[in-house]
């Protein structure tokens, strides 16, 4: 075992400031399942906070029916369909990975963390496909022309 005792303390630089500092929250490091899951969790988390701010701001239009209708009309444009789908992806991933973390921290499922990631990842994919079908459908209709998309569960 590496030692650090009174007689033999852990080595330090002989001169003050003679070390090369590598302090940075961003390091080049191999990304494995756990770190990938965490990075996506952060990204979707920050994304959802940004969405929430825009969402609350949109709700301020509720005071006046005219402005509210105008705002809602904008939401029917294709760009918002993309946004709607991205929102679902973020929510579904964040919720499912959150569940993974709960299982790890509360039930001690740490040894199964990779299996958990892929299992819940599959569940997330199903949620996204089923829940996001209306968005995919209307985007497909818009890109490929009306009537070109199969009408599944709609």
């Amino acid at each position: 075992m590496a030692v650090d005792t009174q007689e033999r303390p852990a080595p330090t630089a002989s001169k003050e400031g003679a070390t090369a500092e590598q302090d940075s929250r961003f390091q080049r490091y191999r990304i494995r399942t756990g770190m990938f899951a965490w990075m996506m969790h952060r990204l979707t988390g920050v994304g959802l906070v940004v969405y929430l701010i825009i969402h609350i701001w949109g709700l301020t239009a509720l005071t006046d029916p005219e402005t509210f209708n105008a705002l809602i009309a904008k939401y029917h444009s294709p760009i918002f369909k993309v946004g709607e789908f991205a929102l679902l992806v973020a929510v579904a991933y964040h919720a499912m990975n959150g569940l993974r973390i709960v299982l790890i921290d509360f039930l001690g499922w740490s040894p199964n963390q990779k299996k958990l990631f892929w299992t819940l990842g599959a569940v997330t994919a199903v949620i996204i496909l089923v829940g996001g079908w209306p968005s995919i459908y209307s985007l497909g209709e818009w890109i490929l022309g009306p009537g070109s998309m199969p009408t599944l569960f709609l």
Binding site: A2, A10, P11, R25, Y29, R30, G34, G108, S110
Partner: protein, 243 residues
């Protein structure tokens, strides 16, 4: 096979910044990564500096970043890094442990790491007087901390943790694993004292279950699992009201 060994070098007397140097090293698939460094030191450049003692994964001296991941140089084989039938010129990179101050080449300043270790009071704390004979523990009681006692304090885990990179004061997995090891030791009475330290903004709650520590550990300790157990203990104990 002939490998290209790239080492991040830094000499405080000459260099402003660390820089990469490349060496050609003959190697066998079953050589350890450490033997590549020894070859460079003995045959190419004697000024290359790195820590190494037992070379058998016991002393924990030679933890470093190898091919982008923290590993113990003596405990990883060339074939595990480049494959059994790697072609000549396959590259293996060596860097000091990420985010720690570098003294020279692959040698990091460990003082911060050991300060955190001392912070969690890694010794037996007891209430009563010492017994006549040894303090007994059943195999079942020991099983709870067995995995955590395998730690060799190499620092691979703590320096692999993004929470450590972002906050140098974060206690880190190695120190908190020690906290677990003593808190869950049935002979120890210092749980509350230790929970005061780990149940803090720089402690347990910056563990986001990223699992880099588990991946880096040369002893395959399930560190995240024990930190989760310590989190549960902290959340249910009286001490959690102090945070």
């Amino acid at each position: 096979m002939d490998l290209t060994v790239e080492i991040k070098r830094y000499n405080p007397d000459e260099d402003e910044e660390p820089h990469w140097e490349s060496y050609e090293v003959p190697a066998e698939p079953l050589d350890s990564a450490l033997s590549l460094l020894l070859h460079v030191k003995w045959h190419e450049d004697g000024t290359l500096s790195f820590r190494k003692s037992c070379a058998h994964g016991i002393c924990g001296s030679d933890a470093m970043q190898i091919n982008g991941e923290n590993k113990l140089a003596c405990s990883v084989l060339v074939q595990d890094l480049v494959g059994e039938d790697a072609e000549d010129g396959s590259t293996i990179t060596f860097e000091p442990l990420p985010s720690a101050p570098v003294i020279k080449d692959l040698i990091i300043d460990q003082s911060r790491f050991f300060e955190k270790y001392r912070d969690v009071k890694p010794w037996l704390i007891t209430d009563g007087p010492a017994p006549e004979r040894e303090r007994e523990q059943s195999p079942e009681e020991h099983a709870m901390i067995e995995d955590a006692t395998k730690c060799i304090m190499c620092g691979a885990c703590t320096h692999a943790c993004p929470s450590t990179w972002a906050d140098p004061d974060y206690l880190g997995p190695a120190a908190m694993l020690k906290a677990y090891r003593y808190t869950f030791d049935t002979r120890d009475d210092g749980a509350e004292e230790r929970l005061d330290v780990v149940d803090s903004p720089d402690g347990l709650w910056k563990c986001y279950t990223i699992f880099n520590c588990n991946e880096a550990c040369p002893k395959d300790i399930d560190i995240t699992r024990w930190l989760s157990a310590l989190k549960r203990r902290a959340a249910t104990s009286q001490a959690s009201t102090n945070a």
